[in-house]
C-alpha cells in the first residue's frame, strides 16, 4: 500500500531531494556516538563540564576527529553529513542558548534576519525544491 517493497529503491529516492539529509539507518549508524554525545547535554552537570572544556568533554566520546571538528565549529550541515540528527544536535545549540530557527538559518545561505523574513513571508517555496533530477 505504501508502494515500496524494495528497500534499495526506497532509499535511493531520498538522495534526489535538494538540500536535505534524510536520517536513514546508514546515517544513524555513522552518527550514533555523535548523537549520544549531544543527548548527554540534557543533563545540567554534563552541560557544565562541556562548557568548561569542550574539547576535553568531546574526547571522552568515541567520535571521529572529523565529527569533533564539526561540533567545535558548530558546522551543522557537516554534522548532518557525519550522521547527526537535528533533534539530537538541538541539544548542542540549546546549550549555546541559540533558538531553533537561528540554528536552522546557519544551515542555509541566509543570515538569521533574512531567514526570519522568509518565514514571515510564507516560508521557502517547494517550487524547484522537490527534486534534483526532475528540477521541479
Amino acid at each position: 500500500m505504501s508502494g515500496h517493497r524494495d528497500i534499495h529503491e526506497y532509499l535511493a529516492e531520498f538522495d534526489d531531494i535538494p538540500g536535505t539529509r534524510v536520517y536513514t539507518a546508514a546515517r544513524a549508524r555513522k552518527g550514533y556516538h555523535l548523537n549520544q554525545f549531544a543527548m548527554s547535554l540534557m543533563k545540567a552537570e554534563n552541560r557544565e563540564r562541556w562548557k568548561a572544556d569542550e574539547r576535553a568533554y568531546l574526547d571522552q566520546w568515541p567520535l571521529t576527529e572529523e565529527q569533533k571538528q564539526a561540533v567545535l565549529a558548530r558546522d551543522y550541515n557537516r554534522m548532518l553529513d557525519l550522521g547527526g540528527n537535528i533533534y539530537f544536535l538541538s541539544k548542542i545549540f540549546s546549550t549555546d542558548g541559540i533558538p531553533f530557527a537561528e540554528a536552522c538559518s546557519t544551515m542555509t545561505d541566509m543570515t538569521f534576519p533574512e531567514y526570519r523574513e522568509m518565514m514571515m513571508n510564507g516560508g521557502r517555496s517547494p517550487e524547484g525544491n522537490r527534486s534534483i533530477k526532475g528540477g521541479y
Binding site: 531520498f14 531531494i17 534524510v22 518565514m119 525544491n129
Partner: protein
C-alpha cells in the same frame, strides 16, 4: 462500553509551549495561532473526554539513539514533563489511564500490532504542547492521557497505511473495553516544516490543506501517500503528519469536520489544526 467520540489533529511546535508558559499567547505573533484554538477549548470543556489517546513523537527526550520503537504505548500511571535542555515545562504531570492502556496494548498485540510497552518515561513538547493548546493552563489536566509514541525520525518510519490501520485497531480495542468512557484520539505533529540542511524553512500551504481535505469524509486516499511525497512536498520533518493518520483511522469509515485552522508561520513550521467526529 468505551467509545471514540472525536479526533483532533494539531501541530506541537515547542515554541507554542514557550508562548503559553511566558504569557505571550495573545501577542501579535502568537495571537492569530491561538485564536484558531479558541473554538476547540470551548468544545473540549463541553465534551469533557475521560481519556485522550495522544499520538506524538519523542524528540530525543525519553528515547535516545539506542532504542527506537516504531510504535510505543505508555501503560504507566503518570508521566513527568521532560527536561529538554532548559528545564521541564511548568505544566502539571500527565496522568495515565493504565487500565485502558493495558487493554489497548494487549488488544493491539493480539490484532497483529507488535507494540512496545512503556511503564515509565518523561513526555516532551510533542505531548504537552497539544494539551496546553486544548486546555490552557489548569492546575491539573482535565483528562487522563495514553501516550502513543511513533518513530518519525529514523527511516524507515511506519507507512501511512500502517498508521491508518493502527488507528482502526485502536478503535476496535477501545470498543471492547467494558467501562463507559468518552475517548478522543489526537494526532499531533506537522504540518510542513524542515529543520535541517540548506532547504530548511520549506513550507507548503497548498499541500497541507489538501492533506486536511483528505481526512474529512470517506476518502481513503491519504493512507497511500508515500514517504517520498511528504519529504519532497512538506520538508524533512513534515513526515510527522503520518501521526494524524492514526487519529483518522481511529474514527472509522467516515468523518465530519467540526473545526479547522491553518496558520503560517510558527518559527519554522506551518500550524494545522483539525477537529473531526466519526459519522456512524
Amino acid at each position: 462500553m468505551a467509545r471514540i467520540t472525536a479526533g483532533v489533529g494539531s501541530s506541537h511546535v515547542p515554541l507554542l509551549g514557550v508562548a503559553v508558559d511566558q504569557g505571550k499567547s495573545g501577542d501579535a505573533y502568537f495571537g492569530p495561532i491561538f485564536a484558531g484554538y479558541e473554538w476547540t477549548r470551548a468544545w473540549e470543556a463541553e465534551q469533557k473526554p475521560d481519556v485522550v489517546v495522544l499520538v506524538y513523537n519523542d524528540h530525543a527526550s525519553a528515547f535516545d539513539a539506542n532504542i527506537i520503537p516504531t510504535f510505543a504505548i505508555g501503560c504507566g500511571e503518570r508521566y513527568k514533563p521532560a527536561d529538554e535542555g532548559w528545564g521541564p515545562r511548568p505544566v502539571p504531570d500527565v496522568e495515565g489511564h493504565a487500565d485502558l492502556a493495558w487493554h489497548i496494548a494487549q488488544s493491539l498485540i493480539l490484532d497483529d500490532f507488535d507494540m512496545t510497552i512503556i511503564n515509565e518515561m518523561d513526555v516532551d513538547h510533542g505531548l504537552t504542547v497539544p494539551l496546553s493548546m486544548m486546555f490552557g493552563q489548569p492546575d491539573k489536566w482535565p483528562v487522563k492521557v495514553i501516550p502513543l509514541a511513533v518513530n518519525v525520525v529514523t527511516y524507515p518510519v511506519p507507512s501511512g497505511n500502517r498508521c491508518w490501520a493502527l488507528g482502526e485497531a485502536i478503535r476496535r480495542a477501545v470498543a471492547s473495553f467494558p467501562d463507559d468512557l468518552n475517548v478522543q484520539v489526537w494526532g499531533t505533529g506537522g504540518m510542513s516544516h524542515q529543520l535541517q540542511g540548506p532547504r530548511a524553512g520549506l513550507l507548503n500551504r497548498e499541500w497541507d490543506n489538501r492533506f486536511m481535505d483528505l481526512l474529512v469524509g470517506d476518502s481513503q486516499e491519504a493512507r497511500a501517500i508515500p514517504h517520498i511525497e511528504y519529504l519532497r512536498e512538506t520538508g524533512s520533518e513534515g513526515i510527522e503528519m503520518v501521526m494524524w493518520l492514526i487519529m483518522r483511522g481511529a474514527l472509522g469509515r467516515e468523518t465530519r469536520c467540526l473545526h479547522r485552522h491553518y496558520h503560517i508561520p510558527c518559527s519554522n513550521t506551518a500550524i494545522g489544526h483539525l477537529v473531526l467526529e466519526p459519522v456512524e
